[in-house]
Structure formats: C-alpha cells, structure tokens
C-alpha cells in the first residue's frame, strides 16, 4: 500500500531536478566555476529532497509496524488472550485481517479491532505529514544553498560512493545473517538436547509427540548416524569423481591436442550445468533401480534407495568440478619444470607422476576439499535417491540418510517454528555450514597461495 506522501516525494524529486538546474544556470557561471555541470546541481537537489524524507518514511514504517502489534496485543481483553505465545500471534493476525476489512474464522474482540484501526489511521497520517514536511523543508534549505561556492559534483560522487560501499557490505551482511539465524536457533536447540547427545548419540529419530500423551513420545537427537550416512555417500562420490576427474584433467592438459581439448572440455562442463534436481531424477529412476536389479542378480539384497546410487550420481556431478579445478592447477605448473624433466630423459607419464603432480599437489588437494564440501552440502540428489531412516551402516547397498535430507524433511511442510524438530534442522544446518566453511577457507587459502607461488 503506497500512500500519498510517496507520490508527493516522487513528484517533488522529479521537479526539483529542473528547479535545481535552473537555479544553477541563473546563479552560477557554469563556464568558470568548477562545482559541476548544471545536471549535477539538479541531482544535488533531488538527493536532498528525496533521500532524508525516504529514510524517515522507512524508519517510521518499521517502528510503527512493531509498535502497533505490541499495542494491539495489550489492548486485547485479558480473558480473551490465549496463553501460548504462538497462539497470541495467530490471534493478533486474525485481528489485523478483520481490521483491514477481511473475514476471519475466529471471533475477535471489537475493541482491539477499533484500536488497531485508530492506531493505523493516526500513524499513517503522522507519517504522511512529517514525510512531506521533511521533504519540503530540506528542498527549500538546499535550494538556497545552490550558489557558486557549492561543489555539487563532489557531493554527488560521495553519495554514489556510499551506495557502492553499502552494496559491497551486503556480502558481509548475508554471512552475518546466516550465522545469526543459525546460531539463535541452534542455541535454543541445545537447551533441549545436550551437546554431548547431539554429537555422540547413536539414535536419530526426531519424531516428537504431536499431542501430549501420544505413544511416539520423545524424539531422539543423536546425530552420529546422520553424519555417518553423509560420510558414506561423500566417500562413494569421491571414489568415483576423484580418479576420473583427476585423470581427465591430466589427459586434457598434458596429452590432448588443442582441438580435442576445445571440444572435450565444454562437453565435460555440461555436466556442471545440469541442475541437481535432474541428477536426483536420474539417481532415483535410472541408477537406483539398475543397482537393485544388478545386486539382486548377484544374490545381494539392495534397497532401492541405496547409498551407492546417490553416491555414484553425486560423483558424476562432481567430476567436472574436480577436473576443471585440477586442470587450472596443472596448467599453472611452470613449463620449465616439465622441460627440465624431459631434459634428463623422463617420459611424459614419468614427468607427470614425479614432477607435475607433486608440484601441483597442494592445489589438487584443495580441489578435492572443495569437491568434498560440495558433496556434503548437496541436497536434491540425496533427498530424491537416498533414504530417510538414519541407520548406522557401512553397507553401500543399504539406505542411509544425510544431514541435508534431514534438514529438508524436518522443515518442509507446516510446522510450528519453535518445536525441537525445526530447531534440530537448524543445528544440522549449523554443523553443515561450519564444516563446509572450514573446508572452503582452507582450500581457498591454499589455492591463492599456490597461484602466488608460480605466478
């Protein structure tokens, strides 16, 4: 809902551009003065007319949105107020719906509805009046400032710089947001479940009692089976992607002719562009049944949601990742090392094995670590092809579950946000984030150092 004051600011801002320009033309000798072009003066006035008023408007909206809810909650007669906090929120929501002219299933007190409508009316009125006056006042003040001593261009460039800086800060804010949301929920989780139980408990079954006295009773949050399943699938994926990716990279960078490379490299990279949900479909409908049939013909019992299927498909997904990272690393080993090795009579494969790989080893390790971090965090393949039951097993034909699968199953669907179940998902997310972050930071540092060494 946009109210009139925003339109007013917009119109005033638009016209102030021309007003500022005209004033600059009249008052300033634009040829001899170096304060800026006439359009800079126009923009100068626009910034001052719009920006303070807009910031004020946003702050008022946020604060009044908060206040109106608290005040309306207080206005509810105490005999009607539900005890449970989340019920209170729901009740409040239905009051707001009614106040805005909608219908609500539950009966709401008239007095609160009227209170809300009053509050909203005066708040909007106050907001509009003050926004318009701020915009007008600052327009007149800064209109008069346009004279030959004003450096409009410098001012504008400083403003732009501030915006540029703010947008680069968003990256940090995202990280802070991630950490904050994870830490808050995780700390709540560890009030219900001890850290020891979470990290060393052998039973994961988060089925909490939905109603009191239900038989399923207490959930159990020992995460070891979940970690073990993640580890097993990652291991299978790396066992496939590691050698295949590395050898493809070696062949492409050392043996393949330029033309072959030109064709093969993008072809392999297609694999990296395929969405993970497609891999999931492939794993669940092609690889999974294939593995079950094959192992049954060998007399082995396999679950149709086997760790092997998910792991292999995840391996296929990671191949281009490993091969292109290793390719970069191998290419950055200086030519002089190769020539020295050829010079003492080594064959190409000997050079690769004895000189290039050792020289590139830290980079290759880093590539593998980045690949592992990607495998751990991969969600769709395991959601679609691995199982839900948290079993502690090393049998790749059995079904296992992973951290990401558990996060998804705990959070998808409608839940109360404060239950231990949802908080458990955040604890798992926190663990996932911490592990992948450590792998990434270490690997990125190695890659960076490595580049500097040979550049």
């Amino acid at each position: 809902m946009l109210d009139i004051s925003l339109y007013f600011i917009f119109l005033l801002g638009l016209s102030s551009y021309y007003i500022g320009k005209n004033r600059a033309k009249k008052n300033i000798n634009l040829i001899t003065e170096t304060g800026g072009l006439e359009s800079h003066y126009g923009m100068y006035l626009v910034v001052w007319t719009v920006l303070p008023a807009l910031i004020f408007y946003i702050i008022w909206t946020i604060i009044s949105n908060y206040l109106i809810k608290e005040a309306t909650l207080d206005s509810i007669p105490s005999d009607l107020l539900p005890e449970n906090i989340s019920m209170q929120r729901l009740f409040l929501d239905s009051i707001i719906v009614v106040a805005k002219g909608g219908n609500s299933l539950s009966k709401v007190p008239e007095i609160s509805v009227a209170f809300y409508q009053n509050f909203a009316y005066y708040s909007t009125l106050g907001k509009s009046i003050s926004t318009i006056s701020i915009s007008l006042i600052s327009f007149f003040i800064f209109y008069r400032k346009i004279d030959s001593t004003l450096r409009a261009k410098n001012f504008l460039e400083r403003i732009i710089l501030v915006f540029l800086f703010i947008s680069s800060i968003i990256a940090i804010m995202t990280t802070v947001g991630i950490i904050l949301s994870l830490v808050v929920e995780t700390s709540k989780f560890f009030q219900d479940v001890t850290i020891f139980e979470y990290f060393f408990g052998l039973l994961w079954s988060p089925q909490m009692a939905l109603r009191e006295g239900q038989v399923a009773a207490e959930g159990s949050f020992g995460a070891v089976p979940v970690f073990a399943g993640t580890f097993l699938i990652t291991l299978i994926a790396m066992a496939l992607a590691g050698p295949v990716g590395l050898f493809s990279a070696i062949y492409l960078s050392e043996y393949a002719s330029k033309n072959t490379r030109k064709i093969i490299k993008p072809t392999i990279e297609i694999l990296a562009g395929v969405p993970t949900v497609v891999y999931g479909f492939f794993a669940a409908l092609v690889v999974g049944p294939f593995i079950r049939r094959t192992s049954e013909s060998f007399g082995l019992a396999a679950s149709s949601e086997s760790a092997l299927a998910a792991g292999l498909v995840m391996g296929i997904m990671i191949i281009p990742f490993i091969s292109s990272l290793s390719d970069d690393v191998i290419n950055s080993v200086p030519q002089s090392l190769r020539e020295a090795s050829f010079g003492v009579g080594a064959t190409k494969s000997e050079t690769i094995k004895k000189v290039i790989i050792p020289a590139a080893l830290p980079g290759i390790v880093a590539a593998f670590m980045l690949a592992i971090s990607r495998a751990i965090g991969e969600t769709m393949i395991v959601v679609m092809a691995a199982g839900l039951s948290a079993k502690l097993t090393a049998n790749p034909l059995d079904s296992v579950t992973t951290v990401t699968v558990q996060i998804v199953t705990l959070l998808v669907g409608d839940h109360e946000f404060d239950s231990t179940k949802t908080m458990a998902a955040f604890a798992l997310g926190m663990t996932l984030f911490a592990i992948t972050l450590m792998l990434n930071i270490y690997a990125l540092r190695v890659v960076k150092k490595y580049r500097e060494k040979y550049d």
Binding site: S168, I250, V277, F281, S349, G377, M380, V383, F417, I441
Partner: protein, 436 residues
C-alpha cells in the same frame, strides 16, 4: 654375446617397459574421459528417451448429448444454472453411449456396474469440467449433440505408448482385459488419436497426469528470476565497482573479499535456512511466493555476479581510465562513463550464468515452501507459486505412471532454457569480448 650387447638388451627392455607404462597411462586418461562422456550420454539419453513421449498425448473423440432437461430445464439461459447442472451424469451417459456408437453392444443392452466403471475409467477425470467449460463458452449448444475431443485417462495414453505390458496378469496392470479390448476397438474406429500435448504448456499442476502442465511453474520461475535479477544485478555491479575501483587496501576490504569467495561455496540449503529464518519469520514475507524465493536466489547469485563482474572490470586496461582522467574527468566519471560500458558485456555474461544457476536451483526453495501443490497460475510476485525444478521434484515423487514421462519432459524444457541461456552468454562473450 658381449657385455655391451647384454647391457643394450637390458636397456632396450627397460625402455620398452617405460614406453608401455606411458601407453597405459595415456589409456587411463582416455578411459577417464570416455567414462565422463559416457555418463553424460546416459544421463541425457535416459531423460530424452523417457521424456520425448511426454510431449504427445492421447485424445478421444466422442459425441456428447447435451440434454436440455438435465442442463437447463426451464430455459433460463442463466449461466449460474448451467454451471451447476448435473455435468457428471451428462458426461457419463454420453460415455456409456460410446459403446453403442461402436456397435459393440446391442441397442438397449445395459452395461453392468463394473463395466460402466471400467469404461468411465478410460476417460479423463476432468472430462465433465471440460465439457461444462465448452458449453459455458457457447450456451446455444444446449439441447444439441456435439462432438468433443478430450484427453483420455493417463492409463490409456500409457498403454498406447507401450508402457503397460499387456501380457502381465490382469491384476497386476492398471487396465483390465475388457478395457484393453475397448481401447483397441476405439483405435481401429479412429476415435483415439495421438496429438501434441498442449496441456503441458498451457495448464498448471493437477492430480491427474493427463491434465498436469508446467505453465504455473514456468511463471513462478520467471517471476522469481525477475525478483532475483532486479536485486542481484545492480547490487552485484555496484559492489564489484567499489571493490575494484574505490576500495582502499585495508582489513575491511580483505574481509569483504574473503566473505564473497566463501559465500560462493556455501551449500545452497544453508541459504534456504537463512531465508526461512529471516525472510519468512522475521520479515513475514508471504510463504511460497516468488518474492521470498527470488530474494534467497538473489543472495545466492550475488557472489557469482560479483566475481565475474570484477573480472570484467579488471580486464579493462588502465590506459582507458588514465586517458579519461587526463581529460579532466573525475575518478567517478572515468568509471561510469568509460570503464563500466566497456565491462558491461562481461558483467552481463556473468549475470546470465548466475541466472541460469538460479533457474536450476531447488534446495533453498524447498525451505521457502515453494514445493507445493499449486493449481493456479501465479499472477504477481506475492502469489503462492512453485518453480520449474520444484515442479520436477514434485512430479518425480508421484506414484502414477503418467507422471514419469511428464517429469522427464519438464526436465527437457528446463534443460532447454538453461542451454539457451548459456548459449546466449557464450554468444555475448564471443561477440563483445575485446582483446586489448
């Protein structure tokens, strides 16, 4: 043999051995490449093989008697009356007549209840609504007998595509013997025809495989991408300009850089958790909406866009900036007037690649509630909707057979979009890339 001969012999043997090792090594390399390409072929091949039949569907043509007594006995011509007529009975009666038309049963012979049920099962469950919609569009049809062409039940479609084995025992297949004999008669009479599956592109989700389409998901994807693009592109470009051109070398700048690089490698599901905790629970954005989903996607693609935009800015040679500043431009003017336009193609390429990533992303959107059964086609960014990959995920879980080929067909559409976007990025790069 002299000693020298012996040594030479040994040397030759050693060399042969080393050369054999070399050959084996090359072979392993070739094997690795072949394996990778084989995986790619199997992956794409199995999807195309399953999906290609999803683009066609089976339709049945039959006569519907629009009995005035059942629809509008009092000749009110009121749409409300017509809309609430007994469409199920009208449809069923016409369906029972189909066998008479084929002269499979004698006139007046009444089908048993079980036979009626079997016959009705050959038609789409939505037939009655479609017939109603036809009449609602043209009220003058009431009282006439019209010929309609409607989708068959998905089982008939699957049978005609050879996906239901006739030789299985009757209890193990979704169609019984009498149904199969009817289907064969209908095919012989030309009542059943294969056509292009236009439902796939013109309808939203449905519980019936024959009525399900991806239009809703496509719209959802489009809206979410729009939100994502309008946030991540300006922010990404501005951040990269700051970092490349203006940032002082200090701790804060270092921290921002490390941060961006790490964010690019954070698992996507963690972004979903962020969105759930912050966008949905703190800011109270509407659940399942392209707005909330697009915001999460924007945060995810931001690092990709920043990294590629910085590379594009770096590629602009310093001489351009120096020339601009030499003519009296300020630093800001040299950047906005000269560096930015020259770096723009590179930035756009990075943005398109980032958008392609966002289009294929599912996991964080699962957290935002975008995996849901939504029939309506979203009209705005606050409507509940799903996205194309989420639709694929939903369909892949459906037990009904007909959904398998639909899923694969939807995957083919998704891959088609991704291919187009990437081809566009490559085209842009080749066309505008400059070597300085």
């Amino acid at each position: 043999m002299t000693n020298i001969d012996l040594l030479e012999n040994q040397r030759d043997k050693l060399i042969t051995k080393r050369y054999n090792k070399e050959k084996r090594f090359i072979l392993i390399g070739r094997l690795a490449i072949a394996l990778t390409i084989m995986f790619l072929t199997i992956l794409l091949g199995s999807i195309v093989l399953r999906g290609i039949s999803g683009f066609t569907t089976t339709k049945i043509t039959f006569n519907v008697t629009l009995d005035k007594k059942l629809i509008d006995p009092e000749s009110t011509n009121d749409k409300k009356v017509i809309s609430s007529a007994r469409w199920r009975k009208i449809t069923r009666d016409s369906i029972y007549n189909v066998l008479n038309d084929m002269s499979l049963v004698m006139n007046g012979e009444v089908l048993s209840k079980a036979e009626q049920k079997s016959l009705v099962r050959l038609f789409s469950r939505s037939s009655e609504y479609q017939i109603r919609d036809i009449v609602m569009d043209d009220i003058s049809l009431v009282g006439k007998t019209i010929e309609v062409t409607l989708p068959t039940a998905s089982e008939v479609d699957q049978f005609l595509k050879g996906k239901i084995d006739e030789n299985l025992p009757e209890d193990n297949r979704p169609l019984n013997n009498i149904q199969i004999s009817w289907i064969k008669h209908m095919v012989d009479n030309g009542m059943i025809n294969k056509t292009f599956n236009s439902n796939l592109f013109t309808k939203g989700d449905s519980r019936n495989a024959e009525d399900a389409g991806i239009l809703g998901a496509l719209m959802g994807s489009l809206l979410a991408l729009l939100v994502c693009l309008s946030i991540s592109f300006p922010l990404g470009v501005m951040a990269s300009i700051y970092l490349e051109e203006f940032a002082p070398k200090n701790k804060l700048t270092d921290m921002i850089e490390v941060n961006i690089n790490n964010l690019a490698a954070v698992p996507s599901i963690v972004f979903g958790l962020l969105g759930l905790a912050i966008f949905l629970n703190v800011f109270n954005l509407p659940r399942s909406s392209p707005l909330a989903g697009g915001l999460v996607l924007a945060l995810m693609t931001l690092p990709t866009i920043i990294i590629s935009s910085r590379a594009a800015i770096k590629a602009v040679p310093p001489s351009i900036r120096e020339a601009a500043m030499g003519l009296g431009a300020s630093k800001m003017q040299s950047v906005t007037h000269h560096v930015l336009p020259l770096a723009m193609p590179g930035m756009l390429t990075g943005t398109i690649i980032g958008m392609a990533q966002a289009l294929g992303e599912t996991a964080p959107l699962l957290m935002m509630g975008m995996v849901a059964f939504i029939v309506d086609i979203p009209q705005s960014i606050t409507d509940p909707s799903t996205v194309l990959p989420a639709q694929i995920f939903l369909w892949s879980d459906q037990p009904e057979r007909g959904f398998e080929e639909k899923t694969a067909a939807a995957i083919m559409v998704l891959l088609g979009f991704l291919l187009t976007m990437n081809a566009l990025a490559v085209f842009l790069r080749n066309k505008f890339e400059r070597k300085w």
